[in-house]
Amino acid sequence: MDRWRYVARELRHRSGRSLATAAGIAVAVLAAVLLAALANSYSRALEAPMKTVGADVIVQLTGDIPPKLEGLVFPHPNALLPAKAVAGIRKEPGVVSVTRAVYLWELAPDHYQSVLGLEAGETGLDGLNGRLLQGRPLRAGDHAALLDSDFAGKNGLKAGDDIVVGGDRLPVAGIVDAARGGKVVRADVYLPLAVSQALAAAAPQVQALYAFGADDANMLLVKADRRRMEAVVERIKQLVGKKAIVSSEISFRETLESALFLSERMGLVLSLVVAVFAVAFVLRATASAVNERRREMAVLQALGWRWRDVHRQVLLENTVLALTGTLAGLALAAFAAWAIGNIEVTMEMPWDLSSTPHFIPEAAVDRRQSVTVPPQLAWQVLAAAGLGGIFAGAISALAALSTRRPQPWSLLRSE
């Protein structure tokens, strides 16, 4: 007969209570792990739109509506960005790279297309070339275009065909699936920056509003040091001015969180409440188990056990229960994560980042983006929840034991 045998006997003897305590801990661990996994999924979902662009910050400037909605125009949230501001942003500490872009809509009575001219670079042409489905990559010096696969499909176009943009006939170098990644800053037609700049400079409805030069841009894709994100965003707003539209993870959070996350928040709060109640239950169950055993603990003392031996025995019992409960909780969490499969988060994109004009009826509805994120059980979360579960068990035993150190005699003399 050793301690472990005694622990096993005791736990089996009070199997109902043992089960309840272990289950309490399992529920707490399960709730905590799912809570962390959900929170993690939502925050990854928030990052997703920006990730698909490859940039951390997108800089635009609110402009005016052109006198006539025909030919190549700047979308409403895209005015000419002052060259001085662009140069200033480039020099800003925390800014890693700046990719200039020209964003255009081409409007005709019978058709519409969005056009995006990009510089070379990771967030520009290089990123785009990485999503090539057919044809060849687009280089900065080319006089050619890449087409979005949806657009190409709808219009029956493929690599090697021609496409007309603003009256300029361009060969289609390849097809990319950029649209599939997200609805942020995507376009039907992608051009090298120089080509798009020339088109914008020549477009009457652009020139009617802005003195757009051959080396100007109306959108910036900025890569920034994520740790300095907030400061960078603030500085960019200052440099571009009041009408700046600066989209980033931060602005996404602000615009999307309140409306969209209300229901998910409820889920998080619920998990938290469940975890707290489960821990409280374990505390109570342990306290009453210890209370029930006061006489037994007095007997052990009379048999020559030191108080610390008794203490250790109870601690051991509860730790075994906590360990069992914790492992069960972790297993349940893993199972739940597997059963849930993917968490789909649907977000409404801010109007500024929508790639289609809001006045085009068929496009107006489609500003939502669904991001599917698998619930991620990070090992740190599992370790923390595991330790937390065992800790909860041990702490509740210590708490129950600390309330009273029984005087053995008063318990033993009464039969």
Binding site: L303, D309, W409
Partner: protein, 222 residues
């Protein structure tokens, strides 16, 4: 063998308004059999509890095996009980989740010098001696009162104590069983030279003792 195993000197104990013990002094010789008698509520169990270090006197001193136990810490008292004092309670006080053999081994759970098998053998031998060789794996709930009391006696003897304190070891048993249990207890103690102090109501038992101590009006009467 004539030196005293237990020396109680002028102890007093008060519970609320009632002074249960009012200056009890007595000496118990090593390897002797002493009975304590007295009316219900006279303080017999209280006296035994104090000798076992489970309760403190308000006044007076108690020496056990030459040690003044009022100077010992609770850990030292536990150690003394584990090594030298076996206690059989008025109620049996067995642990309900453990089998007979496990209950018997409980006081030896920390004996480092005793290996598990040695401990187990000793427990088996003791249970055999008290006539429970076929009840090793029974829980207390599955044992009769007399059987439980015999398990409690085996448990008190597992660590080969110098002193055995037995509080009405036959009180819960019928006459025949009580007599058998007492014979057993006496036999075991005589064989090994254990100092036995037993509380009893039974004058026949008291008559077999080397010495009878009667507690009356809070004092020890000859």
């Amino acid at each position: 063998m004539s030196e005293s195993a237990i020396h109680v000197e002028n102890i007093r104990k008060r519970y609320g308004a009632v002074e249960v013990l009012r200056g009890v002094t007595l000496q118990v010789k090593a390897s002797s059999f002493t009975t304590v008698i007295g009316k219900s509520g006279s303080g017999k169990s209280t006296l035994l509890g104090m000798i076992g270090g489970l309760e403190q006197p308000d006044e007076g001193r108690i020496s056990v095996l030459g040690k003044d136990i009022s100077t010992l810490s609770s850990d030292q008292l536990a150690h003394l009980r584990r090594r030298s004092i076996g206690i059989v309670f008025q109620g049996f006080n067995l642990i309900p989740s453990l089998t007979a053999i496990e209950n018997v081994q409980l006081p030896a759970a920390f004996e480092d010098r005793a290996t598990a098998t040695h401990r187990r053998r000793r427990a088996e031998a003791l249970l055999g001696k008290v006539g429970l060789a076929d009840r090793f794996h029974h829980r207390p709930a599955a044992l009769s009162g007399g059987e439980q009391q015999r398990v409690a006696i085996a448990r008190a003897l597992i660590n080969e104590p110098a002193i055995l304190l037995a509080d009405e070891p036959t009180g819960n048993l019928d006459e025949a069983t009580g007599a058998a249990v007492l014979d057993l207890l006496l036999g075991l103690c005589r064989d090994t030279g254990v100092t036995l102090v037993a509380v009893t109501h039974d004058p026949d038992i008291a008559a077999t003792a080397d010495r009878v101590i009667e507690i009356k009006d809070g004092r020890y009467q000859v």
